[in-house]
Amino acid sequence: MIFTRRETLVLSAGAATAAFLPMQVNAAADDAIAAFTGGAEVTDGGVDLVAPEIAENGNTVPIEVSAEGAASIMLIASGNPTPGVATFNFGKLAGAHTASTRIRLAGTQDVVAIAKMADGSFKRASANVKVTIGGCGG
C-alpha cells in the first residue's frame, strides 16, 4: 500500500467556524473523480466506507475504506476547498484491500471513496459526515 497523496492529520487549533451548513459536491471533486476514472461508469456498492455519522472533531475524522479486489481506492472530501484526500494503491500481493486514515473536514459533507478494481471497473461508496457545533445531550 502506497500513499500517493496525503492531506491528513492536519491538526489545527482553529475550528472551521464558517462551515456549519451542509456543503455540496463541488466541481473540483467532480474533476478529481473524472480524472481518476477517465470518465468511465462508476457503480454503487462493492466498497465499504466507515466514517462517523457526526464528527467528534472536524479537524481529525477517522475514515476507513476497503474494497475486495481493488487495485486502488481514491478518497474524496467532496465539500473541502481541496477535495482530494488520498489514493491508496494495492499491489497484487496485498493481503487486504483496506486503508484507514484521518482527514480534516471543512464542514458537513459527503466523503466519497472510488475503487478501481483489478478488471478496470469502478465502484463507489459515500458517507455523510456531519460537522456540528455541539448540542445538548439528554
Partner: protein, 565 residues
C-alpha cells in the same frame, strides 16, 4: 389513596415473535380497588431468564415529581410512532384510563391534580424493594443499569458521584453503561469504575488517539443464568464529545459504530450466547434504527431519551424496552430462551409510586447518611412557586422559562439560552423551591453561565444546528436532547424542513423587532461545551433570581411557533 389499578403487562406467544402479528392484548384490569405494592409487583414469573432494567436515574435517590412531555415530535419514518406519542393519544394507544395511576405515570395531562392524588415517584430505596422482590421470584435475575446514573443532584455534584455509586452498589447491578458519568472527568470515571465490582461496558468506547477499542471498558460480559448463556453488550452514548465537553474526557472517542456492534454480536454468538442483550444509551430512535441494521440482538434495553413505554417495540426479532428516567420506572423482562433462541417474553414497566412501595431500609439509611452532611444546604428554602415547574418537552418547559428569566435579569442580557436536556424533576404549584430543587435541574460540572455577544446570524446558526440534532430525519444524526430553550426571543420552526431552513421569524421579544443577522445581541447561557467558559455557576444565578422574586409565577410561553409536525 390510589383507587384504581391498571396493569402494564403484556405476554406474547412464541409464534408472534417471528410473525408480523404484533403484540398480544393487554391484560387490562380495570377493577376498582386500591393500588398496593403487591399489585405493582404482581408478575407471573415466565421462562427461564429475567432482566431488570433501570436507566437515567440522574442521581435522584429520593422520591420526586416528574411530568412527562406534552410535545415529543418524531420526524421522517418515526413520525407518529412511539415514543413520539403523548397525552390522550398515548393513553388511547395503550388503553389507559383517564385519571388512572398509569395516566399519571405516563402522560402529562392534569399533572398537578393527579400528583396530589398519587404522590411522588421514584426513590432508589423503593427501586431496591422492587428489585429485591423480583429477585425473590428469580434469584439470578440480571440487573442492568443503562447509565446517566452518576449525575444530576446537589449531593452527586458535591461528592463527584460517590453518593450514587454507594447507594447503587447495595442494589448489586450486574453491568452498566455510560453517558453523563464522563462529565465527572475521565480520571474520576476510571477511579469509580475501578471500584465498581461489576462490568463497565461500552463496545463503542474507543481510545481517541489510536481509534481502537478502549482497554478501560469491556465491550460485553457473558453470564450464565437459569442454565442459559447470556451476553450483555454495552453501548454508551454515541455523541459524548459533541453533546458534552470532550475536553473533560479527551482520551475517549465514541460513535454509534454499528459495524462493530454486529461483530460483537457475532463474536458472542460464536461463544455460545443463547440470548444477546444490548444495554444501550443510544436513545430510542437510534436503537430502533440499529435494531434494523444489526442482526442477532434479542433485547435492547433503551435509555437516554427518557421514554417510558408500557410495551416493548418489536423490530424484526429484536424487542426494545424503554424504562423511563429519574427512578420513576423499572422494567422487568422475563424471557423464555430455549434451543439457543428467544422464544417468548413477558414484560412489565413498573411505576415506582413512592407512597405505595415500601422503602428498603438498608438503602434508605445509606442515602440518608450520604445526605446528612449536606442537609442544611439541601433543604434551605430559596422561594416558592405558584406555577408548575417542569422541563420535558421538545421546545420549552417552565423550569427553563424560569432559568432563562434568571439569566436575562441577573446577567443583563437580551437573549438567554438554556440547554435542551431531558433530566430534572418537577415542582408543584404551592411548593417551596429549595436549593436541592434548583440543583436537580442545573447540576453539572460545566454549569458556568457565560455572557457573550453574538450576531443575529450566529444565533440562527446555533438554532439550526441544535434543531438538526433533534429533527434530522436520520436517527443516526440525532443526539437525543430537546431543542435549546430560548428566553427573550421568539421564533418559528418548521420541523419538516432540512437543516438551514427550519428556523424563521426570530423576534426580539422586548422590542417586537425581527432579529437582524448583522446586529450584535447580548446572549447569556450556560452549559457551554467550550473549555475555559467564565461566569457564575448557573445554580447561583437561578438562586439569586428566585430570592429576588420570592414567589415564582410564570405566564405560559407562546414564543415558539411549531409547524411541519
Amino acid at each position: 389513596m390510589i383507587s384504581r389499578r391498571d396493569f402494564l403487562q403484556t405476554t406474547m406467544a412464541a409464534s408472534a415473535l417471528v410473525g408480523a402479528s404484533g403484540f398480544g392484548n393487554w391484560a387490562r384490569l380495570a377493577a376498582q380497588q386500591s393500588l398496593t405494592q403487591d399489585q405493582l409487583l404482581d408478575f407471573d414469573t415466565f421462562g427461564n431468564v429475567t432482566l431488570i432494567h433501570i436507566t437515567d436515574l440522574h442521581a435522584q435517590l429520593k422520591p420526586i415529581y416528574f411530568r412527562e412531555p406534552e410535545i415529543n415530535l418524531g420526524v421522517g419514518e418515526v413520525a407518529g410512532k412511539v415514543p413520539h406519542i403523548t397525552g390522550a393519544d398515548f393513553r388511547k394507544l395503550y388503553g389507559i384510563e383517564d385519571g388512572s395511576p398509569s395516566h399519571y405515570a405516563l402522560t402529562y395531562n392534569d399533572f398537578t391534580a393527579l400528583a396530589k392524588t398519587y404522590g411522588r415517584v421514584g426513590g432508589l430505596d423503593r427501586c431496591a424493594t422492587v428489585i429485591n422482590s423480583i429477585r425473590a421470584a428469580r434469584p439470578d435475575a440480571l440487573l442492568l443499569d443503562g447509565g446517566d446514573t452518576w449525575h444530576g443532584s446537589y449531593t452527586c455534584y458535591h461528592t463527584e458521584g460517590q453518593d450514587v455509586v454507594d447507594a447503587m452498589s447495595l442494589l448489586k447491578p450486574d453491568a452498566m453503561t455510560f453517558h453523563w458519568e464522563f462529565t465527572l472527568g475521565s480520571d474520576r470515571v476510571r477511579e469509580l469504575v475501578d471500584g465498581l465490582g461489576f462490568p463497565a461496558l461500552g463496545q463503542n468506547i474507543f481510545d481517541a488517539e489510536w481509534d481502537e477499542p478502549s482497554e478501560d471498558f469491556a465491550p460485553y460480559q457473558m453470564f450464565e443464568r437459569g442454565g442459559t448463556k447470556i451476553a450483555v453488550i454495552g453501548q454508551a452514548f454515541p455523541y459524548m464529545p459533541i453533546a458534552n465537553p470532550g475536553w473533560m474526557f479527551p482520551e475517549y472517542s465514541f460513535g454509534i459504530r454499528d459495524q462493530r456492534m454486529q461483530e460483537m454480536v457475532d463474536e458472542v454468538r460464536a461463544q455460545g450466547a443463547e440470548l444477546v442483550v444490548c444495554l444501550s444509551h443510544n436513545g430510542f430512535d437510534v436503537d430502533r434504527k440499529m435494531a434494523s441494521r444489526v442482526s442477532g440482538i434479542d433485547v435492547i434495553l433503551a435509555g437516554h431519551t427518557h421514554d417510558a413505554l408500557p410495551e416493548p417495540v418489536l423490530v424484526g426479532e429484536t424487542i426494545i424496552v424503554a424504562s423511563g428516567s429519574n427512578g420513576k420506572f423499572i422494567s422487568r423482562v422475563d424471557l423464555d430462551v430455549r434451543d439457543g433462541r428467544m422464544m417468548g417474553f413477558r414484560h412489565k414497566l413498573i411505576p415506582i409510586f413512592a407512597d405505595v412501595i415500601e422503602p428498603d431500609a438498608e438503602v434508605a439509611a445509606n442515602i440518608d447518611a450520604s445526605r446528612a452532611p449536606f442537609e442544611a444546604e439541601l433543604t434551605e428554602v430559596i422561594g416558592k412557586t405558584d406555577s408548575l415547574l417542569y422541563r420535558r418537552g421538545n421546545f420549552n418547559g417552565t423550569w427553563d422559562d424560569l432559568i432563562c428569566d434568571a439569566l436575562i435579569s441577573e446577567r443583563d442580557a437580551d437573549i438567554a439560552m438554556s440547554p435542551g436536556v431531558r433530566w430534572g424533576p418537577s415542582v408543584l404549584p404551592g411548593q417551596d423551591i429549595t436549593r436541592e430543587d434548583i440543583f436537580n435541574v442545573t447540576s453539572m460540572t460545566y454549569g458556568k453561565a457565560y455572557r457573550s455577544e453574538m450576531t443575529g446570524e450566529f444565533i440562527h446558526t446555533i438554532m439550526e444546528d441544535v434543531g438538526d440534532n433533534l429533527f434530522n430525519t436520520d436517527p443516526y444524526y440525532q443526539q437525543g436532547g430537546d431543542m435549546v430553550r430560548i428566553g427573550g426571543m421568539g421564533y418559528r420552526i418548521d420541523v419538516s424542513k432540512p437543516m438551514g431552513s427550519r428556523i424563521s421569524e426570530m423576534t426580539l421579544l422586548k422590542t417586537g423587532e425581527l432579529i437582524d443577522p448583522s446586529k450584535t445581541y447580548v446572549v447569556a447561557g450556560w452549559a457551554s461545551v467550550n473549555e475555559g467558559t467564565e461566569g457564575p455557576q448557573i445554580w447561583d444565578v437561578v438562586e439569586n433570581h428566585v430570592r429576588r422574586q420570592g414567589t415564582i409565577s410564570l405566564t405560559p410561553n407562546t414564543s415558539v411557533k411549531v409547524t411541519g409536525a
